[in-house]
Symmetry: none
Subunit: 198 residues, 4 copies
DNA sequence: TATGAATGAGATTTCATTCAT
DNA sequence: CATGAATGAAATCTCATTCAT
C-alpha cells in the first residue's frame, strides 16, 4: 500500500505541528535557549535527526513558534471588529483575554518571545510586523467606536496604552504570586471605558 | 607602606562590581543564557577563572544582577512616598519613569529578568519578594493620597493595574518600533489620575 | 536490506564495551582521576562528546568498570565451590590467583578501586555488596570442607584472613619490586592449609 | 622585637608540619588528586601562596606525606628488634598494629599511597626503598628468633607473607564494612606463630 | 613572612548539526 | 521517512602556580 501524493504533504504538515506543539511545551518550561534539540525530540516523540527534515535548524523552530503565536493573536483581534458596538463588545468580552494573560504557561512563552525579539533581529521584525497589523485593526475599532474624530497621534497613543495594559498584566502574572481577578476587573473595566471614551 | 585591612575588601568590592557592570552590558545584548563566561570575562577585562574568585558560578552573577536591579527599583519607589501630596507628585514626575521604560537597554534587561523568573525558582523568589515590598510602598501611597477609605482588594487591584501599565510600556518598547511619548503622556496622565481617584 | 532491531542494541553494546576497554587501560595507567576524558576518547577511538551517548558522565564509567571487575571476581570465586574436595581444590589451584595478584596492571586497577571505595560512597556500596556475596560463597566452602562444625565468627574470621592474604599480595606487588613466587608458594600453601584445617 | 636566627628554622619547621597535618587530613578525605591546593590551604589555615614557601609544588607535599608515613613505619618496626624473645614479642603486641589497620582513616591514606606508587615513579622509589629497609629489619628478627637456619628465599617469603597479611587487613578495612577483631585475632595469632615457626 | 589577586591551561560536559544506514 | 551514531565547537568550571604588595 502506497501513500498517494496528496497524503504526503498532509502527513508532513502533521509531523511539523507535532514538533511545534512539543516545542511550545519545551520552550515554556526551559526557554528558547534552555531547551536542547534532544529534549525537544524526546517531547515530540521522534528522533533528533528527523526534526531536521521539517526545520532547517533550531532558529527556524523558534521563528515558527513565534509566527504561530502572532497569528493567533491577529485572529482573535480581528474577531472583535465585526461587532456593531465595538466598545461595548470589548468591555463585555474583557474578562477572557485578561484571564488568559494570567495563565503562567501563556505568559512565560509571550515573555520569552519578547525577550528574543530584543536580541534577534529576525524575531524582532516578525513582532514589529504583527504589531503594526494589530495597530491597524485596533485603530479601525477606535475610529468606529469613538463619538468624536481622533487624530492619528490620539489613536496611536490610545492603542499603546491599551496594549500596554494587557502586556503589563502578563508581566504581573510572573511578578505577582497570585492576583484577585475579580477585584482587578472591577477597576480595570472603568479604566478601559475611560480610555476608550476619552 | 602597608595596605590597611579596610582597603582589601574595597578592592574585592570594586572587582565584583566591575564584573557586574560587564555582566549588565553583556546580558542586555545577549541575554543571560546567550552570553558566555568568555564574553563576560573579555568585557570585564579579566580572565574567566578569576571571575570565579568573586562569584560561585554564572547563576550567582545572574542573581546578583537581578538583586541589584530590584534594589534600585525599591529605592526609586520609596522616594515618592516622602512628598506631601503623593498623587500630585506621581503625576508631576510621571514622565521620567515612562521615558526610562522606553530605553531599549533598560527594557531588554527587565524582560530578561522576568523571563528568568518564569523558569528559575530562585530568581522568581527574589522578584516576588521585591514585588511585595513595592506593593506595600504603593499601598501606603494610595492610603495617604485617597479621599475615601479603600478596601484591601481595591488597594491591591489599583496597584496591579498601575504596575501593569508601567511593565506594559516596557514590553511596548520592544514590540513597537518607536512611540510618540508626548502623545502617550497626554492620554496616560488622565488615565492614571482616573485610577488614583476612582 | 534492513537492520534487524536485535542488531541495534548489539552495536551500542559493542561501543559501550569499547569505551570500557579503553577506560580499563587508561585507568590502570593514570588512575580514575588522573585520566582525562580526552585521553579516554583517544584510546577508545571516538570523540569525547560521543562517549556521553553511552555514559552519563565520568562517574558512570568508573562505576561500570568497578561493576565489571567485581562481577569477574564473583564468577571465578563460585567456580571453586563445584569441586568435591573443596580444600584440596583450593590448594591445587592456588598458584593461578596468586600469580594474577602479581601482575602490576591487575594490582594497579584493584588498588585504584579500593582507593575509590574509601571516598566514593557509591563505589563503596558496590564493593561492600560484592564482598558480602563472596563471603557467602567462601562460607559455604569452609562449611563443606571442614571436618568440624564452625561458629559464625570462626567462618567470618577465616574468610577475612584468607581474603587479606590475597588482597595483601596485591599490595605487595606494588610495594615490593619483584617476588620469588615459588619460594612464596612453598610457605603460603602450608599456611593456607593451616588456616583451613584450624 | 626581632626573631633570632635560631628561631627562624624552628618556626618554618612548625609551619611545614602544619601544612603536612592539614594535607594528611585532606588527602585521607579526598585523595591526593581529589584535594585542591585551595582546600589544603583552608585546612592548614594559611594562604595558598604561602604554602609555596615551604613546598615547591603539590608533588612535593605528596612526597613529604609519603616520606613521613614511611618513616613512622620504619620506627615502629625497629622497636620490635630490641626484645630478647622476638617472636613472643611479636605475638604479644600483635593486636595494636592489627587494630591500627582497621582505622578507616589510616587505611585510606595507606591505600592512597600505594595507588600513587603504582603510577608515580618517584613515590614508587620511596616505597621500594623503605620496603627494602623493613625487609632487612624483619629478616634480622626472623634469623634471631628461628630455631633453625633459614635460606635467603625462606626469609624473603616469610617476610612477604607476613607483610601481605597486614597490608591485606588494611584493604579489608575498606572492603568489609565491619570486622570482629577478637574473632580475627583468635585465628590470626596461631597463623602467625605457624609462619614464624615453619 | 604572608596574602590573595590573577592567570592559563585543561577538565568535564553540552549541544546543534550532519550523515550513514 | 526515520533513526541515532558521530562529531567538533564551545560552554562552564577547576586548579596548580606565579606574583605584586
Amino acid at each position: 500500500m502506497v501513500t498517494t501524493p496528496s497524503q504526503e504533504p498532509q502527513r508532513a504538515q502533521m509531523r511539523r505541528s507535532q514538533v511545534l506543539q512539543a516545542a511550545t511545551r519545551c520552550f515554556r518550561l526551559y526557554g528558547f535557549h534552555g531547551c536542547s534539540m534532544a529534549q525537544l525530540a524526546k517531547e515530540a516523540g521522534m528522533s533528533v535527526g528527523h526534526i531536521y527534515h521539517y526545520f532547517e535548524n533550531k532558529e527556524a523552530i523558534i521563528e515558527a513558534i513565534v509566527q504561530q503565536d502572532l497569528e493567533e493573536w491577529l485572529i482573535s483581534m480581528s474577531r472583535l471588529l465585526d461587532s456593531p458596538d465595538v466598545f461595548q463588545e470589548i468591555l463585555d468580552t474583557l474578562e477572557e483575554p485578561v484571564r488568559e494573560t494570567q495563565q503562567p504557561d501563556y505568559a512565560a512563552l509571550q515573555i520569552e518571545i519578547i525577550a528574543e525579539a530584543a536580541r534577534n533581529p529576525k524575531v524582532a521584525h516578525m513582532v514589529h510586523t504583527v504589531h503594526r497589523q494589530v495597530r491597524d485593526t485596533v485603530a479601525a475599532m477606535l475610529i468606529k467606536g469613538s463619538r468624536r474624530p481622533l487624530s492619528e497621534t490620539e489613536i496611536d497613543s490610545k492603542f499603546e496604552l491599551l496594549s500596554a495594559l494587557f502586556d503589563g498584566l502578563m508581566v504581573r502574572a510572573i511578578r505577582a504570586e497570585k492576583m484577585d481577578l475579580d477585584g482587578l476587573m472591577a477597576i480595570m473595566r472603568p479604566t478601559i471605558r475611560f480610555i476608550l471614551d476619552h
